[in-house]
């Protein structure tokens, strides 16, 4: 099975040959790969070298953390890669931006009101979590669309708070 794995804009062709062998860009590696204790932690022995890695799935990518370094990886088989290449950058700049809660917390205030013109970097909403007030800012210029929360509301991670159109 052949995959194209992208890390920080560099593509690696990773071929899984059998349970014990992979080839990365044609170079053969002897591997022993086991999940630890049903956790998102994996122990990998590569050509005798031992690594302990955390792997976090995040939407369409994988975050791999080991030895104090975090790598963001996109893993695609050849068909998926072709598909994405044809779809390309179909997502437009003008698409509605949904501000989602990056963490659970309580809404302190909503400076961005419906219909208000905002610029990139303007504070849309202030969310308190773990005793810190976090200013959530607009990633681009636009108009504030629907505001779905009020000050005092408790929100969960990834809840949609408001939109910028």
């Amino acid at each position: 099975m052949k995959y194209v794995t992208t890390i920080e804009a560099r593509e690696y062709t990773v071929e899984i040959l059998d349970e014990r062998h992979v080839a990365v860009d044609g170079v053969l590696y002897e591997i022993d790969f086991v999940p630890v204790n049903n956790q998102p932690v994996y122990s990998l022995i590569v050509n005798g070298e031992s690594f302990d890695a955390h792997v976090y799935p995040d939407e369409e990518i994988w975050q791999v953390l080991f030895q104090g370094n975090l790598y963001t990886a996109r893993v695609e088989d050849e068909r998926e890669k072709r598909l994405r290449a044809t779809l390309g950058s179909a997502t437009s700049e003008r698409e509605e931006f949904l501000l989602k809660a990056p963490m659970p917390g309580m809404v302190v205030s909503v400076p961005g009101q419906p219909g208000q013109r905002v610029q990139k970097g303007d504070v849309l909403l202030i969310l308190e979590s773990m005793k810190m007030q976090n200013e959530l800012k607009s990633p681009r210029d636009g108009l504030v669309g629907r505001v779905r929360v009020d000050p005092g509301d408790r929100v969960e991670k990834k809840d949609t708070l408001l939109s910028v159109i």
Partner: protein, 504 residues
């Protein structure tokens, strides 16, 4: 004299205090919110009582309820830890009024040092230099602050009068941006301390944040236990501390001078129990009083490791009316200690807080390694309290050995279920500037990049590619496996629908 102590706190510090009480043969009482029913401090204490719902104001800030529980349980003293009620003079006074010993300073000393503006005026009168600012002016309106600001000069800091821990603090580089920052600082100060008052202070550039631990008994004896270097901060939140300060190093004369000034500041408010005097020290070793923390500090363990003195037990002895066991000349420092604060926050995503259930953890051990923690497997990290989940502290004969030990310990430390700042500390331990002690309070924000992976010699993207590919491959295989063997998921109808679609 009391034989039972109520610990009015949670998390790692509650556990730390419970341990000290147990060693002294004192019975312990824990209090908890609904979010903390399963917390370690509840399980370690001899007795535990519910305070109320999860938010702090309904639980750990309910001084009235805590005093009521102390009476009900027969606790003769209350230890407030840090944060929550630790620096509330009214709470300390309420304890004393109801016949309960408050393990900390007298209410008058908390009040004098708690109002940062009054504190600066008090120590200035005792001959201690302070950073230029609006000290002793009382509470000022925005217009007044805006008119004084140019006299102090930019850059300057807006600080909460009742503040601490970087909350209600904003840095101002010019007059134009000041009104908005004043509003933000007041809002945060009100949310954190219930007090909107702020004051201004000149920003000392290239400064180091160095603090001195002091101990004072009821007979008026005051000693200092040397300094802690706390310049590794982000948004005025300390992330790593070490003792001694590499900036003071072998300069024993400077250390004793700083210590003597700290003792004088404590005496100026007739201080009793453990406390910390914070200083800003510039590159020419000029030092300015910043504030006094009238409580146990988060970073107290590094002083314990280099002096051999258990500060929490000393606090309890002092509160029991005993005199200090040591004279100043009997305090000696041995070796080097470093503490890394392990916070539930994502260092790769602007340090935003991370919550969730801890599904797996592996603690570092070995010579010279200490972990103070309040979490365990199965514990839920909630958004209600601060993000500190544990403190990793190491001791070494030299600074070099301490750094090497910290590196190993960080590598061993596994916490799964929430994101932590462990990778941040690992990167810091590899930084040449940190190793060479070339840092000031701006280091993390201005000179430190967690994403600079290419600089790291341990960069192994091909290994990451193998891991990610194998995990993704296993997931695909598992999904395929389910279909192949007809191992359907919960709904047969859903499976039938899929099957029909496939065969159309």
């Amino acid at each position: 004299m009391f034989n039972k102590v109520l610990v009015a706190n949670r998390g790692e510090i509650a556990v730390r205090i419970l341990r000290a009480c147990r060693e002294l043969g004192i019975r312990t009482v824990a209090v908890y919110s609904d979010a903390d029913r399963q917390a370690l401090h509840v399980r370690y204490a001899d007795e535990a009582y519910r305070l109320g719902p999860a938010p702090s104001r309904d639980s750990y800030l309910r001084g009235d309820k805590i005093i009521e529980i102390a009476h009900k349980s027969g606790a003769g003293a209350i230890h407030p830890g840090y944060g929550f009620l630790a620096e509330r003079a009214d709470f300390a006074a309420a304890c004393i009024d109801s016949g309960i010993v408050f393990i900390g300073p007298r209410p008058s000393a908390i009040a004098a040092m708690g109002d940062k503006a009054i504190a600066r005026l008090t120590v200035a009168r005792a001959g201690v230099t302070v950073v230029p600012g609006t000290e002793g002016e009382g509470s000022l309106h925005d217009e007044e602050l805006l008119s004084i600001a140019p006299q102090i000069g930019f850059p300057l800091l807006i600080k909460a009068t009742a503040g601490g821990g970087g909350k209600g603090m904003r840095e101002v580089s010019c007059l134009e941006e000041m009104p908005a920052l004043l509003a933000a600082a007041r809002r945060e100060a009100e949310a954190s301390f219930g007090d909107r008052n702020v004051y201004l202070e000149k920003l000392v550039e290239g400064a180091r944040h160095i603090e001195v631990q002091i101990l004072a008994d009821s007979a008026g004896n005051v000693i200092h236990l040397g300094e802690r270097e706390c310049s590794i901060q982000r948004r005025h939140q300390k992330l790593l501390e070490e003792s001694p300060s590499p900036f003071i190093g072998e300069d024993e004369e400077f250390r004793q001078k700083l210590g003597a000034v700290a003792v004088r500041a404590a005496q100026a408010v007739n201080y009793e129990n453990a406390g910390t005097i914070e200083f800003l020290v510039d590159k020419d070793k000029n030092f300015y009083f910043l504030e006094m923390n009238t409580r146990l500090q988060v970073e107290h363990p590094i002083t314990e490791l280099v002096t051999g003195i258990d500060i929490v037990k000393e606090q309890i002895r002092i509160a029991r009316g005993r005199q200090l066991r040591h004279k100043q000349e009997e305090i000696h420092h041995k070796g080097w200690a470093i503490e890394c604060r392990i916070n539930a926050e994502d260092p790769y995503n602007d340090f935003i807080p991370s919550t969730g259930r801890i599904t797996h953890t592996l603690l570092p051990t070995g010579p010279g390694v200490r972990v103070d923690t309040g979490v365990y497997i199965g514990f839920e990290v909630t958004p209600f309290y601060d993000s500190l989940i544990s403190k990793l502290i190491v001791w070494g004969e030299t600074r070099g050995e301490a750094i090497l030990r910290m590196r190993c310990a960080l590598d061993e430390y596994k916490i799964i279920g929430v994101r932590t700042n462990i990778p941040f500390h690992q990167r810091l331990m590899d930084s040449h500037r940190f190793m060479g002690a070339q840092y000031d309070t701006r280091f993390v924000e201005e000179r430190f990049l967690i994403h600079a992976a290419e600089e790291s010699k341990s960069n192994r993207p091909e290994i990451a590619a193998i891991v990610a590919t194998l995990v993704a491959h296993q997931q695909t295989e598992r999904a395929a496996h389910v279909i192949q063997h007809g191992e359907r998921d919960t709904s047969n109808w859903k499976w039938l629908g899929r099957w029909e679609r496939l065969h159309k």
